[in-house]
């Protein structure tokens, strides 16, 4: 066990340290945001593909959710550890892990959202001569938007949390401060990293919620159960 020199007298926050490290704090917050954005972006693209396949060929939905479910169950540190021998302590390792955690949530929500589209609406569109692809893009996706955005919000908040763990495999982001605090027995960066990662998650969550309201004005009037 590593030698610990933590003192009960060490103050929880040394404001001087924060003041001196404002630049680095800003840099790592941006880094955290970028790592999250890449993971959710790629995850969304893959999940959309998987969902289209699952919607078209119903039988694949079970296996798809099973595989993404197993990925979701594997602890993040273990998943990163599996990849390190192959892809090293790299951003690629971090992103593969992060992307795989978004898939289950996103696929479930995309499929549930599309499934929730009223058959009457679908039939009307088909009756008007909509092709399968046009029906999907112009009718089903917009109507499923609230459920899909709900999935995106959960996935994003989850990834913001998991990005803190990637500091252990040498990546940047706010987890760096947490790890630094643990390693140097110094509370201030530990608390700064934790608080900011929560703040980042909340800000992104609220932003996405606002975006959803902007993109689907028709759902505003509907009562949310």
């Amino acid at each position: 066990m590593p030698q610990r020199t933590f003192l009960a007298t060490e103050p929880l926050i040394r404001w001087g340290w924060i003041w001196d490290h404002l630049d680095e704090i800003r840099t790592q917050t941006v880094e955290h945001f970028i790592l999250t954005g890449i993971a959710v972006g790629i995850g969304f693209a893959i999940a959309m593909g998987l969902s289209i396949v699952a919607l078209r060929f119903r039988r694949t939905y079970g296996p798809v959710t099973w595989v993404t479910g197993v990925l979701y169950t594997i602890p993040s540190l273990a998943l990163f550890a599996f990849l390190v021998p192959y892809t090293g302590l790299s951003t690629l390792t971090a992103e593969i892990g992060l992307v795989s955690y978004t898939l289950l949530i996103l696929v479930r929500n995309i499929v549930a959202g599309i499934d929730g589209v009223s058959p009457a609406v679908r039939e009307a569109a088909v009756g008007m001569g909509y092709s399968r692809a046009r029906l999907f893009v112009e009718i089903e996706l917009p109507l499923a938007l609230p459920v899909i955005v709900a999935g995106l919000r959960i996935a994003t908040v989850t990834v913001v949390g998991l990005v803190t763990v990637t500091s252990i495999i040498g990546q940047g982001g706010l987890g760096l401060f947490i790890l630094d605090g643990l390693r140097r027995d110094f509370y201030t960066p530990l608390i700064v990293g934790s608080v900011l990662s929560v703040a980042l998650a909340v800000v992104i969550d609220v932003t996405l919620a606002g975006l959803e309201r902007l993109l689907s004005p028709w759902s505003r009037a509907r009562t949310v159960s």
């Binding site: 066990m1 590593p2 610990r4 933590f6 009960a8 060490e10 929880l12 197993v70 169950t73 594997i74 602890p75 993040s76 540190l77 273990a78 998943l79 550890a81 599996f82 390190v84 021998p85 959960i154 908040v157 989850t158 913001v160 949390g161 998991l162 803190t164 763990v165 252990i168 495999i169 987890g175 947490i178 790890l179 605090g181 643990l182 509370y187 530990l190 608390i191 990293g193 934790s194 990662s197 929560v198 998650a201 909340v202 969550d205």
Partner: protein, 237 residues
């Protein structure tokens, strides 16, 4: 694959099966702490969730708990638990990990217990009251058994998360299977890292499967069937 052969050799090596740093002891440590944390969290969160759900109030609390719980990274919870544990004189290792895991397990168990009771059909509860059941009987005889599967799902989600996060306990001086990964990283021993990851992943998946089986035994045909609502009530068309 060279690595996989080395990992296999690591698993065969009798040295890795002995003593306080051996696989059996590390696994036991990991399981014991996870079980304790989940049990303590369930003892707190199930009654409070169920009672609040029965009262018909607190929907906002339930939603807030789940949102806040999700926004706080588990790594941050474990890291934050350390200074507080030290200040409280509990030291490093066991206590910060245990406290963090309990905190982490509370939201999913609470929210699921709350939702479980809430989602019991109003017509069922009305019927029970109409038959002259008291509040206590409605809660214990109707809402709790009907909400059982969902409550267990909450405990299952929490347990899997706890097993996963207990890995990070190695960063605050605790043992468990995370030691192989964290120590492996610090001495750049990919074999130990990979072996540790295998063990942790297996334990997490086994936990999930074990709960799945328990769920099936308890609530599927032959179990508490007498208490199960007819299918149409469970899934309104």
């Amino acid at each position: 694959m060279d690595l996989l052969a080395d990992v296999l050799a690591w698993f065969i090596d009798p040295d890795n099966w002995q003593g306080s740093t051996g696989i059996p002891n590390r696994t036991l440590e990991h399981m014991r702490l996870s079980a304790m944390a989940t049990a303590v969290a369930a003892a707190v969160a199930v009654p409070s969730g169920v009672l609040l759900g029965h009262s018909g109030r607190g929907g906002l609390i339930a939603v807030s708990v789940v949102n806040i719980g999700r926004a706080i990274p588990s790594f941050a919870i474990i890291a934050l638990a350390l200074p507080f544990s030290i200040r409280a004189g509990l030291g490093i290792g066991f206590w910060p990990t245990f406290l963090a895991l309990v905190l982490l397990a509370l939201p999913p168990i609470f929210t699921n217990s709350f939702t479980a009771v809430r989602s019991v059909g109003a017509e069922v509860v009305e019927a029970a009251r109409g038959m002259g059941m008291r509040e206590r009987e409605v809660l214990l005889g109707i809402e709790l058994p009907l909400g059982g599967p969902l409550i267990l799902t909450g405990i299952r989600v929490a347990a899997v998360q706890v097993v996963a996060t207990a890995t990070l306990g190695a960063l605050v001086g605790w043992g468990g299977l995370g030691r192989y990964i964290i120590d492996g990283f610090s001495v750049q021993d990919n074999v130990r890292v990979f072996a540790g990851a295998l063990l942790v992943a297996a334990l997490a998946i086994l936990t999930d499967v074990a709960f799945g089986v328990t769920e099936r035994i308890l609530f599927a045909a032959g179990g508490l069937r007498g208490h199960r609502p007819p299918a149409r009530m469970e899934r309104p068309a």
